[in-house]
Amino acid sequence: MAAGAVDEAQLRDLIPGVLAALVHRGADFATAEDAVQEALLKAVELWPNRRPDDPKGWLITTAWRRFIDLARSDTARRDRELRVSDEPPPGPAESVDDTLQLYFLCAHPSLTSASAVALTLRAVGGLTTRQIAQAYLVPEATMAQRISRAKRTVSDVRLDQPGDLRTVLKVLYLVFNEGYSGDVDLAEEAIRLARQLAATTHDEEVAGLLALFLLHHARREARTRADGSLVVLADQDRSLWRRELIAEGVDILQAALARDRLGEYQAQAAIAALHADAQTSDETDWVQIVEWYDELVRLTDSPVVRLNRAVAVGEADGPQAGLAALAELDPTLPRYTASAAYLHERAGDFATATKLYAEAAAQAQNLAERNHLTLRAATLRQRTLGSHGS
């Protein structure tokens, strides 16, 4: 076979199947997961020189051998009988259902969200502990503990029990939300995992989440400048939007919506699709966006959704209507002040907007947003001073 660098994403696509195969043969999840991880490292080392004809088979064989070693040494240490042996696997071969079960296990409700994210990235995603630690900016030892605790927590969970897809989607949403730091692009990884999940189930919300990821990711290049500063939607260079991702996201979303089982991710994706559909900021169909926010409020009853809805109302019906919608909400909501500042700016009340932008900057939860809000305050202050001077 051709030599050369191994496509790691492609390699990692095989992981859930390989891990499921081991579990099917009677391996315990925690040890099997370690064995698969080691087989993966071996593949990265050996495949550039000699790629096997059957990569998945190679991984299963290698991981299984490694598992036997690990289980034997473990057994010897604890002086216990080896429960598994080299005998052929009982039951059917692994299937797409196994992949789904693995997602359920790694997002098990007994895990905290941090643990579920870490375990999913490692056991389903095939990332190394080091990569996950770098992505979340914690020491490798901390991440190693987080993962091994998570594995212990789910060690008694049977893989054939039906799981809750909502918790899986939430975990993927959290991964996507983290964006990227270090050498792992977590947004790309979340998309890969969502694609893989979508291939195992016809659930409309899985499709909705994948569509949402694609539609949001399509605009990533346009969303920040080279220095990391934010570009608000209205100012984004729309030629930077990745049309192929938008088209794919829209297709997936439309197929899901046609099945008429609406959920919050489909509604969020619909809003993202409406933004992506506008050739210019002025062409944005804000009336329809507000309608989708109404659906989202109905589905989630989330105060954050109501806040976003108020901003959308401000675009559809004018800033005064937006401010009226805002006035009904709790002022301690995250981004409430920033939203109020924006609506006052739109209404032409620069003095109030300036004051609110400065307040919002002090409340911002991330650096890029704080810088953006500080800059808005400074720009409006200068404009106000300028108009007084003239």
């Binding site: 979340y136 020491p139 503990q145 987080r146 939300n177 939860q365 991330n366």
Partner: protein
Amino acid sequence: MAKYLFLKHYRGAPASVNDVPMDQWTPDEVQAHIQYMHDFAKRLQESGEFVDSQALTPEGAWVRSDGEGKPPVTDGPFAETKDLIAGWMIIDVDSYERAVELAGELSAAPGAGGKPIHEWLEVRSFLTAGPKFTE
């Protein structure tokens, strides 16, 4: 998941409940305190929530640039400085409630008489680098 900083103050925090300065503790009391801090950090490492922990010397200097081509100017330490950081711990936890719970435990480290100090710790949350979903 969010990172929080626990700041321990030499000066500037409200008075502790067990407010006897460390230099007046017995060696055993000091030992017990160090052991508690050590065990606490270890426990957080094992729970996968530990990021960093450092202690600082009480004395520091002020430094500022004095313009291009000139060496930086140093000054201080100033005895009158109201706020003085003794050290910190950084954790990565699921919620603010968890951060407060852990800060509470850390504050209960033993001091004089082997009794918990109940010192005030400052809990601060990190700004993340970029925004989450925004539209």
